[in-house]
């Protein structure tokens, strides 16, 4: 049953991506399919629960099939048709003809490391503290009690501290609902969700990068993103941070591409991924704010606000719906955010010191932020003279600044600020890892040599399809 649901989730995601961005590469579509599909299914779960429909296999499968059929109907109406076998064959031949040994070697290493990581993730059950004391347990209880809003663990009579500051009752819903789906469909542990999220992220990240800096560079950078020590270690656990980083970074990367190239497809993928990011962790709104701010400046300069409005509505709608749902059904807790402005130099110094210590920690993030600095310094000439990759630069800077601002505005009632900065904040930085690698590798000073490397290594063999066209056999 779980396999059926996962296939259905992938089909839903694939249909959505095909609909919003037909120009995306096959590998991007494949990567984004599960991420978009599982995000959509968790929204369906909330809607079913709001309508008092039990969260059991049949209703979930039924609404997912209905959603998929609707998407197929829209695709059909838009004139979408499956490629013929010959077209797939030609595409494959073209891909095979353009491979080079270096690309192949990096892909083999990526596949090998991911095989080990996936196996580890599936073999060991959930054991990390944050999951057992929150997300995994909530998902498990949702599956047992077939609802969200009336869970026994949300009952104040059973759990007197449930509405206290920072309580898990008010967490954004993606992770626990994802785990609930795994348990509802009969999984022994919820680890399949973490495992698939990271696997599909690698595909999507490689896909978007290959579109920007060609495939050999994309393979090298994907390996370096994947090997980021702390992130790779956490990718096989059940905590929210890696999943949040996946949505936040992809949403921001597609946002940067949209601002750079102006393609509607990139805009729509950015808005979907960013809405999933706020659906995973509430502070994810800062990534929406960062891209939104840059998009607003561009919209004002170009006197065109239509795309920005569409992007903004999609990006915030699920978060808004979840907030309404929480208010209606009382899934709220004492706020940990201080909404009024204040000035505390000691707190500012503490946050800046800790965050920068984390950023420079090669044990946690490998070469990520050192390479980012090197790439930035080497690219200064292109930034000043050619305004190279400015959206990427500002998206990174603004989102880091906003994240630190969120840390500053938090009232640390449930834990000390020192604990949060020392142990939790290092995981918050995961969001910036793929983003940093994307930015540094798309800088002219790095992307140009990588593209040249690709040209040098590619065998100049005429591909089969071109021969077909020339001989006229295809017609």
């Amino acid at each position: 049953m779980l396999a059926i649901d996962i296939i259905l989730v992938i089909l839903v995601g694939l249909s959505i991506i095909e609909l919003v961005c037909p120009s995306a590469s096959f590998i991007e579509k494949a990567g984004l399919s599960f991420l978009t599909g599982i995000f959509s299914q968790t929204i369906l779960l909330v809607l079913l629960d709001a309508l008092n429909i039990p969260l059991t296999r049949l209703p979930i499968l039924s609404v997912t099939v209905i959603l998929w059929l609707i998407l197929c109907a829209v695709l059909y109406k838009k004139g979408y048709s499956f490629k013929s076998f010959n077209e797939y064959k030609n595409l494959l031949i073209k891909q095979v003809c353009s491979i080079n040994v270096v690309w192949l070697a990096f892909i083999v290493v990526i596949v090998y490391v991911e095989y080990m990581n996936f196996s580890k993730c599936m073999y060991f059950p959930t054991f990390d503290r944050d999951s057992l004391a929150g997300f995994d347990t909530i998902g498990y209880v949702i599956a047992q009690e077939s609802n969200i809003k009336n869970l026994s663990i949300f009952d104040i009579a059973y759990n007197p501290g449930i509405h206290g500051p920072g309580s898990y009752i008010s967490y954004a819903p993606f992770v626990q609902l994802g785990y609930a789906i795994a348990y509802i469909f009969g999984a022994e542990t919820s680890k399949i969700i973490s495992a698939l999220m990271f696997l599909f992220f690698l595909l999507a990240f490689y896909g978007i990068l290959a579109r920007s800096i060609k495939k050999t560079g994309a393979a090298i950078i994907t390996l370096l993103v994947m090997l980021t020590p702390e992130m790779l270690a956490f990718s096989s656990m059940s905590a929210t941070n890696v999943m949040h980083a996946i949505f936040a970074s992809l949403g921001t990367i597609y946002g940067i591409r949209w601002l750079d190239k102006g393609e509607k497809g990139d805009m729509l993928i950015s808005s979907i991924m960013l809405s999933a990011n706020a659906w995973t962790r509430s502070e994810g709104v800062i990534f929406i704010a960062a891209i939104g701010f840059l998009a607003l400046i561009k919209a004002v300069r170009k006197h065109s606000i239509k795309q920005l409005i569409l992007w903004g509505v999609i990006a915030v709608l699920p978060f808004f719906l979840w907030s309404v749902y929480q208010r209606i059904f009382g899934l709220t807790s004492e706020s940990i955010m201080m909404t009024s402005p204040f000035y505390d130099q000691e707190k500012i110094d503490l946050i800046i010191k800790n965050m920068f210590n984390h950023f420079l920690n090669v044990q946690y993030y490998g070469w990520t932020f050192k390479m980012l600095m090197i790439s930035f310094v080497l690219n200064i000439w292109f930034i000043v003279k050619k305004k190279d990759n400015l959206y990427g630069f500002f998206a990174l800077i603004i989102s880091i600044f906003l994240y630190m601002l969120v840390l500053y505005q938090i009232d640390y009632k449930w834990d000390t600020i020192n604990n949060v900065l020392a142990y939790s904040a290092k995981r918050f930085i995961f969001c910036f890892v793929p983003l940093a690698w994307y930015y540094l590798s798309t800088n002219k000073v790095i992307s140009y040599p990588l593209e040249k490397l690709e040209d040098l290594l590619t065998f100049q063999i005429k591909s089969e399809p071109e021969v077909f066209v020339k001989t006229g056999r295809r017609r």
């Binding site: 270096v102 196996s119 073999y123 059950p125 057992l132 759990n159 490998g366 070469w367 290594l457 100049q460």
Partner: protein, 178 residues
């Protein structure tokens, strides 16, 4: 002539591929995997793969014991020995991790949500909820950890009883004995 040039290009590209492949190998092996962080995470994955290949047929409870040790075994024991409608009192952190002593427990077995994950559908009550939760008046069982919890029982138990789960009053034991 054109054919010769094309062949030469393929030949050059082939050697360029070989050279860059060696460079890539040197980069990954000599540079990436020599960096402390990358080598740590890679070594960890290799170590985990070794365990997986060594014990491919472990059941989920066995794999849970590998990761959570005594905490998992203890809760599994409680789940196996209490009815599904039990209301169980779990003692505080100090009982699980006495100061200055080695503990068989790992993780946060004293955390209510942590315990619920393994004891559901049984209800769990923790010390800070005593008197605040209606379930604190409906306790049916006490988790005894390092002897802590015995003082809550209405009947006497040998002080040598260090770990286990006992009904809050001995009616249930008497019922079972009859």
């Amino acid at each position: 002539m054109a054919n010769h040039k094309k062949q030469k290009n393929i030949y050059t590209t082939f050697w360029l591929n070989v050279v860059f492949l060696l460079l890539a190998f040197a980069f990954v092996k000599g540079s990436v995997l020599n960096q402390q962080g990358y080598s740590w995470v890679y070594g960890m994955l290799k170590g985990n793969m070794k365990t997986i290949k060594q014990y491919p047929n472990l059941t989920l409870p066995q794999r849970s014991e590998v990761k959570m040790g005594g905490s998992y075994s203890y809760y599994k024991y409680i789940a196996d020995n209490t009815p599904k409608n039990a209301v169980i009192y779990i003692p505080a952190r100090d009982a699980f991790f006495p100061k200055g002593q080695q503990s068989m427990f790992t993780g946060e077995p004293y955390n209510k949500m942590w315990a619920i994950r393994f004891l559901y559908p049984r209800k769990v009550v923790v010390p800070q909820e005593m008197g605040h939760s209606i379930y604190s008046r409906k306790l049916t069982h006490i988790a005894i950890v390092n002897g802590v919890g015995l003082e809550m029982l209405s009947y006497s138990v040998s002080p040598n009883f260090r770990i286990g789960v006992l009904p809050i009053n001995n009616k249930e034991i008497l019922k079972q004995t009859k």
